[in-house]
Each structure stands twice: as C-alpha cells, then as structure tokens.
Amino acid sequence: MLVPLAIAPLRSQTAEAGADHEITDWILISASGDVTLGLSQPEVGQGSYTVLPQILADELDADWQRVKVRFVTGREAYKIAFKNEPPVQKEGASMSTTVLYSRLRTAGAAARGVLVRAAADHWKVTANQCRAEKGFVIGPNGQRRSYGALAADAAKLPLDPAPHLKDRTQFTLVGKPLPRLDSKAKSTGTAIFGIDVVVPNMLHAAICSAPAFTGSLTAIRNEAEILGMAGVRAVVRLPAVHVANEEPGSQHPGLAQEARHNAVCVVADRFWQAKCAADALDLAFDPGAGGNLSTAGIDGLLHQALDAEKAVTAVETGRPREILEERAQAVIERRFVLPHIAHAPLEPVNATASYKDGAVEVWGPIQAVAACQDAIAASVGVKAEAIKINVTFLGGSFGRKIVPDYVVQAVHASKAVGRPVKLLRTREQDLRHGIFRVNAGGRFRAVLDGKGYPLAVQARVVGQSLFGATRKSWLDQTPEGAWDESMVDGIYNQDYRLPNFLVETIDTPLPVPVYFMRSVGSTAAVFFWESFISELAHRAGIDQYAYRRTLLADKPLALRVLDAVAEAARWSAPPLPGTVRGIAYNCYVGRGGRFKTYVAQVVELVPAGDRLALKRVFCAVDPGLVVNPNTLAAQIEGGIGFALTTALHSRITFADGGAEQTNFLDYPLLSIDEMPEIVPIILPSDRPPQGFGEVVLAPVAPAIAQALLQASGRRIDTMPLPAEAFRR
C-alpha cells in the first residue's frame, strides 16, 4: 500500500494579480470577504466541484454562502500519485476524495490558523484566545473581524505545516448533504462545457478518420472540390496518435505519434460547413496490419485462451489443481464471454486549440491535465511549460477524456491554419474511433465440499490486457509471465473463504485502442465471479444470501453491507408472487490498494406482460466517512444506471479492422423507462473517505443474472444480457 505524499500547505512566492490574497495554494480571499477555493479535479458529474471545496471550507471555517470555486492547475499541491507513478494532476480511479481529503483539510486548517493569528495580532491577544466561525475570527471579548479584513495580513504569515485539525464532531459542512454548486448553471444552460468554448477568431473543424485502427491515409481524391465548398478554409492531414505503453517515468497515457496520417479534418467558418465538407471527403486508406480484425477473430482468440493448457498464475493457495483433477467428475464449470464496449459520454470528444509562435493554449473537456500537456508537447514539438490548459465542465467522460487524442488533433488543426480551431467529433466519429474498454472471457471451475461450499476453485480470465496495452509497468511479473490485476479485479483479491484457490489470466493482445473505463475490470470480473458463486449456491441448494454469508463469516465489514441490504430488501421474507430477486457482493479495492469500499445489492424483477422487468435495486455501501450524502446518493443512483447500460445494451463489434457502431441506434444507452427505483443504504463508518465513483457498478449485472437463474434456471454467459432471458 502506498502512503499518500505528504504535501505541506504552500503558497506561491508571487501574489496573484487582482484583489484576492492567496492564503494557500488552494485558497484566495478578497478584501470584501469572498472566498475562492481551488479545484484540482475536473467536474465530470461526480460532484467534485462541490465535495472537495466542502472539505476545504469546513476546516477554513469559511462562510459557505460566500464560496466560489475555480479550476486550478500548475502546482505540486494539485498532483496525486496513481499506483507506482510520479504524481500528476488527473481525475480518475475514484481517487479524488479519498486522496485529497487530508490534504485539503490541512490546507484549510493552515489557512484558518493564519487568519486567526492575524486577528490576534490585530487585537494584541494570543491566538488561542480567538476562534473562527463562518468567515469571521471572534476575539476574547466577542469582537469580530472578517476574513476579508484579515486576508492581506494573513497572506504574509507563515503557514503551519501540521495545523490542528478538527475532530469529526466539530465539522460544520463535512457530512452534510449540501446542494451541488453547479446545479443552477446546469439547469439554466449557462454551464460551459468544452463544446461551448468560444475564443476570438476561432474556426471550426470536423474530422474523418481511417476506418481501420491501423489504417493510413493514402489519398484525398477531391481536395480541390472540398476547398471550394462553402466556408471551408483548409483540409488538414492529421498524424496518427495511438494509446501506447508509457515511457518509464512519463505520465500516462502514452500517446505515440506515428509517421502515418490516419485522419483528415476540414476547417471551416462554421461547424456545419466543416461537417458537410468532411462528409464529402473522398479518402483512400490502406487498412494496415490490423485490417482483418473482426469480432469473430477476437472471440476465437478468447475461446482458444479459455481452453489453453497453460496460463499465468496470479494467485494459488492450497491444492486447487490437484483437487480439481482428483475429483474431475464433480467439477462444476461455467464459461463467459464479454465484448469490448465504449464510454460514449454524451458530450462527444472535442477541444479548442490555439497554436501561436510556439505556444499552445487549449480549452476543453479534459480529465488529465498532465497527460494532455505531455501529449501535445510530444506531438507538436513545444515545451510542456508553453502549453496552457483550460479545463471546462466535462459532459461525461467515464475515463474517455483522459486520453487526449482529440486535443492533439485540435492543436494540429490550429497549427495548420494559424488560427484557433474548435475540433468536434460527430457522434459517429466519437463512437467508431473511441478508446474502448477491453473484452474478457472467463472459465470458472469448482468442486464443492460435503456441505455444498467451495472446496477448490479455478478462476481463469482471458482477453485483451488493459495494462499490457497501456501500462506495462503496472503488470505483476511471475516466472510464467506477467498478469494484469485489472483483468481479475474482485477475483484475485476476493473476500470469500476458499481453502484451495487458483486465479490465472491469459492476455490476447489486439490492435484495438483501449483505455480505462469507469469500474475498469470489475464490471467483467465481478460479473463472472458473482455469477459463478450464484451457480455454486444454486447447485448446493442453499439460499444465495446465506451462502455468501457463510463464506464471508470472518469478514465483518463485508457482512455488514450484506446484512444491511438483505434486511432492507426483506430477503428473509418470501417475495410477492412472480417477483424474483438476486443478491451480489463486491469489495471494490482502489488501485494500488488505496481504498476499500464495500457494496452489496439486491435486485427485484417483476412480471411486466410477457417479460420480467427490473423494478428495484437496493444498494448498501460502506464508503468510509461520507463527505456529502447528497452527491454520494447520486453516484449510487447514476452508477447503477450506468451499469445497466452495460448490462443490457453495450457491445462494440469489429469488422475490417475497425469498430462498427456509429450512433445511439446501434449503441443504445439506458433510457428513463428502463431505470429501476433505487434504494440507497449508506452505512456509517469510522474509516476516512474511501473511493466511490466506480464502486456500485459491478454487482448489478450478476445480481440480475442470478434473479434470472432463479426464475427460469437459465444461465447467462454474456453481456449484454440477452433480451430473451427476460421472457417469462
């Protein structure tokens, strides 16, 4: 387990221009008492824009009504370390609140400390005779001085590197369901997303990319005709960039630039003109080495790997191989195959870029500032310091907007035309040229003991390795080869009591561009794992809740969420006639072991005509201290809905070297009529805040599959869950 970097509160040597006084890297206070809090983590919908300032403001004892938030970049304080990497400014891996919690508290408390000292100096009393409250310091005789009046003096006092922090009973904001600070802007059309950026003299660009991932542009057959179209200013060939393994010590994702061109963008006065011209492009591409990539070929590789004699051993305890061989006749086996899927944020990827005299400024929906800077620097040959990144609200991301391929393309377009350019992908270009979540296959084998519980289990997961494709330094090395923990998230580190246990993986490398997606490997791996546990309980004839309870007997935090969800769902009482239920459990372990969030869910399916419909999902969570129960509940609701899109609808297929899906007709998202009622159960905890944004997704699909098994005996071995499985 990594120890979070201790970052002492600092302030820059040069004061920022304007009326604001910088108290720390995170806190500006104006003479009139307005408090501006820095936000280092992009707001992608998860609520960071409210929750992180809430932590700062509590220790600062700021008046929440006078708090403003601004996105900040460029300082060490804003960087966090992911697994074994150097710290960078990035949102991801459900890390923001859990990692920044103590850092923001320290910054807020240190700022409160200098404000109190400034007041004490003013009144010529000692600091411990004074206290802070809602934007004022209050002296021994009840005298009050506002933070605004104190800011200039406080900004000159040294910050205490280890200030006294509040205990939980003293919190005034943390733990409260405060309203989101961005709801009004997002309900009145005034929030600025990347697509809404306007800079002076800006042009618009639309893009057309090689259908095959390994494709190269060989000709533009009608360039003159395109240049003659209304509003068109330029036709720009774009160099291929692809997500690659990182160089040692660099920031991820690696974004390698190749000699080939693989896309053309048309730059025009208006987006519609650019889009019409891009549609009219007559381009010739060589599909390259991966031109025969197809779904049949990819699935063939999965099945080969599932049947392969040898795999890489990730975990082995007891004598699983021997027992499974000795009792071959009693082995229970299940196999699963899952497709690649796409993030499909509703705001298609886009960026506005200005390249001028070797300096670059970009505006856009960007999830990882550092990765974006590095990719631009490498691609257009400017120094990272000469690149200014302006982060807007993100219209969804789910991991997609960490990869800045679209930003680099916008910079190239601007460089080519010498003016700022906003490059926006159409939905078709966004989806077909996405950076996908990997596929996965699973083969699970077990024998049960005399009481019906697992005696020996073999869990094999195969597929395109995310770490193998993008993060080789994150692979675990063994004498048999490397294994990728993300392929077996929630399996290799699972909680059930298993005396003899074997976990193994096989990487089937593919030319499909892949990257992290919300919940990473766990949506696949936990679907396999919990479905297999359901199978074993079903075969043993033991209640699914009781079975899990027995296997978790020595895990009190796991039992707590499992019991809580069973109680809320009244599991011990028989369901209404026709209703079927499923229960699932997962402990989501943060990357690098940074956190543990416990989750258990019960789903209820009810008859609706000739089908079963998902009516209700109970979700119990132990996420440690909850900074904001309002935004946490929203993550439960939305996370389950997001998982339902994956469970019911998502599949990317491949032909002729590229993805086939183009829009929401062939890549549907969950709609409101498919959304169940959600019952959140948030358990109190003495632990500090754990990660949350990704944690409720994984149990949804296996809980539904278990309910369908209960209803009809039918085994579900794939996602999206087949529609016919819901027939009554």
Binding site: S187, T188, F271, E637, L669
Partner: protein, 154 residues
C-alpha cells in the same frame, strides 16, 4: 447562403446561413446560444431539444429553412409557470451530474407538464424516454417532474 429571420426567445434575430443548416448549429455557432447541446446529430438523444412553438423539437435534425415563422424557445429563454417549476425542482433535487443532457431534459419536462398537469410514472416514461442521460440521473428527473407537478397544483 440566405438570410433567415427567426423568432427566438421573445426577440427577432437574423442570420445568414446555408438553408440546410440545422437549427442547432444556427443557435450555437451564429447566435451564441450554447445551452442547447449536440449529442448525436440524428434526433436519437434529445440533448438538442428546443421548443418550436409549444412542441419539444430536436434542433439537430431541423433545417433552419423548416423553422418558418414558428417561435423558437431555448433553455436560455424558457419562461412561464411550468418552466419556473421545472427549473426550481431540478435545482432543488440536484438532478444534474455532468449536466450535458439537462437542457434537453428540462425542455421535454416543461412540454410534458404543459400537456399533462399531473403525469404518472408511465406518462413520464413516454414523454422523457427520448432524452438520454449517460450519467443516468433518471431517478431524480422523475422525482423532479413530480415535484414540479405538485408545485403547479397538478
């Protein structure tokens, strides 16, 4: 290029654009009204929904030539009791997460409440299923519509 005069948010605006330009891009690129969003370009997601008269309309698939003399109302220009109730409920419930789809959701919700004062869950499903939300804020959308209906006395 041709000149089009549009009745928009209670005023009149003129633009010079190609007639096949979808209303969405006229609003966003020519008139600077960026509250209306682009999501799919094919009337599949609802992010671009505006009022054409009283009808919630997908502006990404409506050429500006087809607007004619109809009054256009975007998220920036919504007024009236239904709009006030819906926006108030949206904020009070903290419906948005990323927020990108919400302009379209709000227009569709206002249109629903203008026709059905007290919508059932089924009415909401029918009226709102064309407005996709990738963050799946649907639980709160449903609750906010019921709140707004109550506030309107429905």
């Amino acid at each position: 290029m041709a000149r089009f005069t549009l009745r928009l948010n209670g005023t009149t605006r003129s633009v010079d654009v190609d007639g096949d330009t979808p209303l969405l891009w006229v609003l966003r690129d020519d008139l600077g009204l960026t509250g209306t969003k682009f999501g799919c370009g094919a009337a599949l997601c609802g992010a671009c929904t505006v009022f054409l008269g009283d009808v919630a309309t997908r502006s990404c698939s409506l050429p500006v030539t087809a607007v004619g003399n109809s009054e256009i109302t975007t998220i920036e220009g919504v007024t009236g009791p239904e709009a006030a109730a819906v926006q108030h409920a949206w904020i009070a419930r903290d419906v948005p997460q990323c927020g990108y789809c919400q302009s379209g959701q709000i227009i569709s919700a206002i249109a629903l409440l203008k026709t059905i004062r007290k919508p059932s869950d089924r009415d909401i499903d029918l009226a709102m299923s064309g407005n996709l939300c990738r963050c799946a804020t649907y639980v709160r959308i449903r609750a906010a519509i019921h709140d707004a209906a109550r506030a309107l006395g429905g």
